[in-house]
Amino acid sequence: MLSYFAKRIASSIPTLFIIITIAFFMIRLAPGGPFDSERPVPAEIAANLEKVYHLNDPLPVQYGYYLLNVLKGDFGPSFKYHDFTVSELIAQGFPVSIQLGLLAILLSLMIGVLLGVIAALRQNSAIDYLVMGLAMTGITIPNFVMAPILILLFGVFWGLLPTSGWGELKHMVLPVIVLSLPQIATVARMTRASLIETLNMPYIRTAKAKGLPTRLILSRHASRATLLPILSWLGPATAAIITGSVVVETIFGLPGIGRHFINGALNRDYTLVMGVVVFYGFLIILMNLLVDLLYAWLDPRIKY
């Protein structure tokens, strides 16, 4: 088991390494980039950049320094907000983004699995079609369309929920809903397909032939096989929710990493955008790693 862990962790290092490398060379070599000498830069920043990026050293050495700094969690100073380092900005936004993200994942799992199970158990009934229709809607309507609609309904027309601001639970309701709707839909579809497939397995027929009640067949015999594939949803879901949070934080004006990211992109804050990309890449890799380890732990057939 331990050696499997080690192997799996080792295999995700190259990916992270590649992300950092691509980010570095993109920022260093891009025409019109911050290090392009044709563009005038304020002296103060120039000196700062000089120091942080060791611009007088050859490129490979610079790359080495950068790698070392990133490993220490230091992405350098922000290009636009001179008083902050990128790491500080990320650290500021992280609590907001992680709360949103975790709540969205939790909500998606709970509601999605519930809907999927109901649909699968009533396969081809009206309720199944309803759930699958809703799921199709949830997957199709983009979050940047859904958010304005919900703001209009709950915020403007009915005045039930705040449409911006941060700090209280009520501020999280709409953003979390917008973030989770597509994921609820995805989980519901996956659960339905997975449960239907599982219920067609010969071992479920064996369980029925043994006289087990439906409740026990579902909870003991079908649950693990049904939910294991959902586990692998977590990896892509992290990526999707991070992407979604960029939109949601922008629309609802929340102080998370996503908004820094977009502001950075719009303001050409190279170091910030780059730092966030590496950080996001790290999060996604971490989640995929976690999923694989959980998988290995839950499936007795996987040999370590």
Binding site: P202, K208, G211, R301
Partner: protein
């Protein structure tokens, strides 16, 4: 009579997405009776409806299947009953053994759990974990599994095919059922393992007097184990009789063809019987006798009328127009 099946029909709704939905008749009016302690074999080509016949009476049909007719087991109606009332019989009064032991066990649960849960659901308040474990281990020993204590804690993938089939048999036996339905229990196994499993079933029958319905392709296999043989073709019983009657006085051309066909060894499934011609398309069954396109003795009326059941001897019945011998 322990088990009485009357005019059982099984239909499947088939939707190819191209044409309108069609009805596939997998079992077309089967009647049979089985006494306590009696052993019968059901033989017939692939697709003749053997499995679905018994799936229907156990309430195990796929979702697109439906069953009609009547079945009673010890005076209790079985067909189309609620799961709740079926569950008093399934696993307790009637045990089932399936064709493919590789997939019949849940890969995520330990063997022990899958065994003891049979007792757990059927003994209700009397269930005792410790004694259940002891009995499960005894049963594993009974079906000749080595190191039963250790195997109790194994996962299915840690066992060979033959061992898994023994586990499935042990599972079916735990509640001392009155009837065991074994659906091709040896087809998926190596030839040497096949004979061991059959020997085990014989042994169980001798000691417990449990009735066994053995569904199989393999006529020679059943000779030593069963009292009666029922031959099915295209969802109907075409001939039934004692082992001797079927082996030495077969009346139906299909039965004769089955007997004459040399068992050919295919790579995995062991012996397979090969008869000239194709089995009929279940969606386009020939009018009249379903065997007529392949029958060497076909007459004009075979192609339009269904042959009635004729009595040759007390328990020897055949559905064919041809009266020979």
């Amino acid at each position: 009579m322990m088990l009485t099946i009357e005019n059982l029909r099984v239909d499947f709704t088939v939707d190819s997405g191209i044409q309108r939905k069609q009805t596939l008749q997998a079992v077309r009016g089967v009647s049979l009776e089985l006494d306590q302690g009696e052993n019968v074999a059901i033989v017939g080509e692939s697709g003749s409806g053997k499995s679905q016949l018994f799936n229907a009476l156990m309430g195990l049909l796929p979702p697109n299947g439906s069953a009609h007719g009547s079945v009673s087991f010890n005076q209790q109606a079985l067909l189309n009953q609620s799961d709740k009332s079926l569950n008093k019989i399934r696993g307790k009064e009637i045990g089932m053994i399936f064709q493919d032991p590789m997939t019949a066990l849940n890969p995520y649960l330990r063997i022990g759990k899958q065994l003891t849960e049979v007792l757990e659901v059927h003994e209700g308040a009397n269930f005792n974990k410790e004694s259940a474990k002891r009995r499960a281990i005894e049963m594993l020993d009974r079906v000749k599994i080595k190191d039963p204590e250790q195997r109790f804690n194994s996962y299915p993938h840690e066992l060979s095919g033959g061992m898994r089939q023994r586990v499935v048999i042990a599972m079916a036996l735990l509640c001392k059922p009155k009837l065991i339905i074994a659906d091709e229990p040896t087809t998926a196994l190596d030839v040497t393992v096949q004979t061991e499993i059959i020997r085990l079933l014989k042994d169980i029958y001798r000691k417990e007097r449990t009735s066994i319905v053995l569904i199989t392709h393999d006529l020679p296999l059943v000779a030593g184990l069963c009292d009666r043989i029922i031959v099915m073709y295209a969802g109907k019983i075409v001939e039934t009789g004692t082992v001797d009657e079927i082996f030495y006085k077969a009346q139906h051309p299909y039965t004769q063809a089955l007997l004459a066909a040399t068992p050919t060894n295919t790579e995995k499934s062991g012996k397979m019987l090969a008869i000239d011609g194709q089995p009929p398309d279940p969606l386009n069954l020939p009018a009249g006798c379903a065997f007529s396109p392949r029958c060497a003795f076909v007459e004009e009326r075979c192609k339009t009328e269904s042959p009635p059941e004729r009595k040759i001897d007390a328990g020897h019945l055949v559905s064919c127009f041809r009266e020979n011998n």
